[in-house]
């Protein structure tokens, strides 16, 4: 990569939380400004420059027809496209509507539904264009994000770990909520990256970072049932922030069918 790579940041359907991970990193932001040229970052500066970009960060899922077009344009002017956050990598919390009647959801959520134009489904960026690197998380982990940028500047594409949250939970010496409290935790099927934030507060993991190395969601679901949850309650656990990720979605769907056929 030539002396100062041009970096752009774009936002699709999301809450800005991931971009904020960059904006709030005050020390790092200064350092970053020295290392890269920020060519397009609507949240941070008014300077909006045309592509091409060396590295493009995209936050948010694709959920409107405009975004489908926009992401293709962005891809065309980006040498390296990196999606950041649960929305961009698995459709995010918006993907909860996937598979439901959209009109119904819109009526429930918005006071003036006639202004809302939306696609049937909220989908990850990689369903539309080729993505060179995905950083999961809700929000992304700042250290992981800055680390990835630092590696790219060295000319290397990092490989974020796929091992479950449990490894970090144990490294940090947190007491397991499943074993010591009998509470559900998605840590065993979620990839590490957050620093085991929820177990640190004696809460089960919500799965923000998405499925880990091929996860055994079925075995974990059986365990949750043993803890006294109903199939639908277990399904709800899996249908959270990254619920549209295939591994979580499939187990949730199976559990819902199970409960439906039982009643």
């Amino acid at each position: 990569m030539s002396p100062k790579p041009r970096v752009a940041v774009f936002k699709m359907a999301s809450c800005d939380g991931c971009q904020l991970q960059l904006l709030d990193a005050e020390d790092a932001l200064l350092e970053l400004a020295g290392a890269i040229e920020i060519a397009n970052f609507a949240e941070a500066s008014s300077r909006l420059e045309e592509g091409p970009y060396d590295v493009t960060l995209v936050e948010g899922s694709i959920s409107t027809p405009e975004q489908v077009e926009q992401i293709k344009e962005i891809r065309a002017v980006s040498r390296f496209l990196m999606t950041i956050g649960a929305c961009a990598t698995s459709g995010g919390i918006q993907a909860l509507r996937n598979g439901r009647d959209l009109a119904e959801v819109v009526r429930q959520v918005y006071p003036t539904p006639e202004y809302v134009r939306s696609l049937e489904r909220s989908t990850p960026v990689a369903e539309h264009v080729k993505v060179d690197l995905e950083l999961t998380g809700c929000p992304v982990d700042r250290g992981q994000l800055l680390g990835a940028i630092a590696w790219l500047l060295q000319g290397s594409v990092p490989r974020p770990p796929t091992t479950p949250v449990c490894i970090e939970c144990k490294r940090r010496g947190y007491v397991c909520v499943v074993v010591a409290r009998g509470e559900p935790c998605l840590g065993p099927v979620t990839r590490t990256g957050c620093g085991a934030l929820c177990p640190a507060f004696a809460r089960g993991c919500y799965g923000c970072f998405g499925p880990s190395q091929p996860p055994n969601t079925e075995a974990l679901a059986r365990r949750f049932l043993e803890l006294g949850m109903s199939p639908v309650q277990v399904a709800e656990k899996f249908r959270f922030i990254t619920g549209y990720a295939p591994a979580f979605r499939e187990t949730a769907e199976r559990l819902e069918r199970e409960e439906a056929s039982a009643t």
Binding site: P161, R171, V175, V179
Partner: protein, 370 residues
């Protein structure tokens, strides 16, 4: 054998602190007895007992005054002697010059209080891995002080008796205590321990006290939560590499790494490099790793152990078989942590027993020359 009254234990803690040790002992946090820095007997889990089984652990109040009437929680001395995350070196790159600085050797001196015999054995098992090539481990290890406690309260998942590593502390301690009602019998294991003991104001133990101390561990032996038939484990596991049980356990295993993290002998680690955004400062860190990670066996052409089956087989075979070839000891000390802290309660003793009763169900695959 000496006898130390209840206040004597407080004097021991104070003396260790006075000698500059950071005292590490059992204490209650978030519903478990963990190992952490303690400031005196008040921090110990007095009157607390635990109940543990596969995938389950709960604390209970006993109402008595015992300090050590429990069996260990998830932590072992490994957390301190081989820390979960440790900087190995830093590097600076300026104007084309590169400087690499190994991390300074650790200054801290630990005094471990309340280690059980299984855990003292586990330290000696890890010595064989780290003592030569890891100067930081070696320094921490050599400078630490070890107060063992003879075990009177084996946990529901314990099987040290089967592994020959307990319940009585046989080696690896400076002092070993046995808790009796109203005090402790104390045995020194080293000159260093003897010297410390001489300052504690103990007295010679009576014959009755000595007999009571022996009864504590004899009773524990009777109450082991688990047993394991150890006869020719390497042969058993090596000739059953293609046993159907591996598939069966893989359907239950989350490959979550918990068993390897809590195991006091598991030593695997990753070396991870990081660099500053301007590319001038780099840090090399070592962190706990596990053979349950798919990426653990990554090679450019593909990961070697892709299936959960192969990863569970690596763990169990390493602990109970190949460890013996590699280091001349078993990799398992029978502490039972991997059973308790497995979120789905997979039990190594049960897995081995299942293979043993169906030994040879599928023969070792013939050598495949493709």
């Amino acid at each position: 054998m000496r006898f130390l009254d209840e206040e004597g234990f407080g004097r021991l803690m104070a003396l260790l602190a006075a000698r500059g040790y950071v005292v590490i002992g059992p204490t209650v946090r978030d519903g478990a007895i963990v190992l952490d820095r303690i400031d005196g007997a008040k921090d110990l889990p007095r009157g607390i007992r635990e109940a543990q089984g596969p995938g389950a652990y709960r604390l209970e109040a006993t109402g008595d005054h015992q300090l050590f009437a429990w069996s260990h929680g998830p932590d072992s001395a490994k957390r301190f002697l081989f820390p979960p995350r440790e900087v190995l070196s830093t590097a600076t790159r300026l104007e084309g010059e590169l400087r690499v600085d190994p991390a300074p050797l650790p200054e801290v001196r630990y005094a471990f209080v309340g280690l059980r015999s299984c855990d003292l054995h586990a330290i000696e098992v890890q010595d064989r891995v780290f003592a030569i090539a890891d100067p930081a481990y070696r320094k921490r290890r050599e400078e630490s002080f070890y107060v063992g406690v003879n075990c009177g309260h084996p946990g529901g998942t314990c099987f040290c008796d089967s592994m020959g590593t307990g319940p009585r502390c046989a080696a690896g301690f400076d002092l070993a205590l046995t808790e009796l009602g109203g005090g402790f019998t104390v045995e020194p294991g080293t000159a260093r321990g003897e010297e410390l003991l001489s300052e504690l104001g103990s007295r010679e133990a009576t014959g009755a006290e000595a007999a009571a101390a022996a009864a504590v561990t004899d009773g524990a032996r009777e109450r082991m939560g688990r047993r394991l038939e150890t006869d020719d484990l390497p042969g058993l596991l090596y000739r059953n590499r293609e046993h159907p049980r591996w598939d069966q356990v893989a359907s239950r295993c989350l490959t979550c790494t918990n068993c390897t993290m809590v195991c006091p002998t598991c030593f695997c680690n990753d070396v991870v490099d990081g660099i500053s955004l301007d590319g001038t400062e780099a840090t090399r860190t070592r962190e706990w790793a596990s053979c349950f990670s798919e990426e653990f066996s990554h090679m450019a052409p593909g990961d070697v152990r892709k299936s959960a089956r192969s990863r569970y087989r690596q763990w169990l075979t390493h602990k109970f078989a190949s460890w013996i070839d590699q280091f001349g000891t078993s990799g398992c000390v029978g502490c039972g942590r991997c059973i308790t802290w497995c979120p789905v309660g997979i039990d190594v003793t049960e897995e081995i027993a299942a293979i043993r009763v169906t030994d040879g169900e599928v023969a070792v695959a013939e050598e495949v020359v493709a």
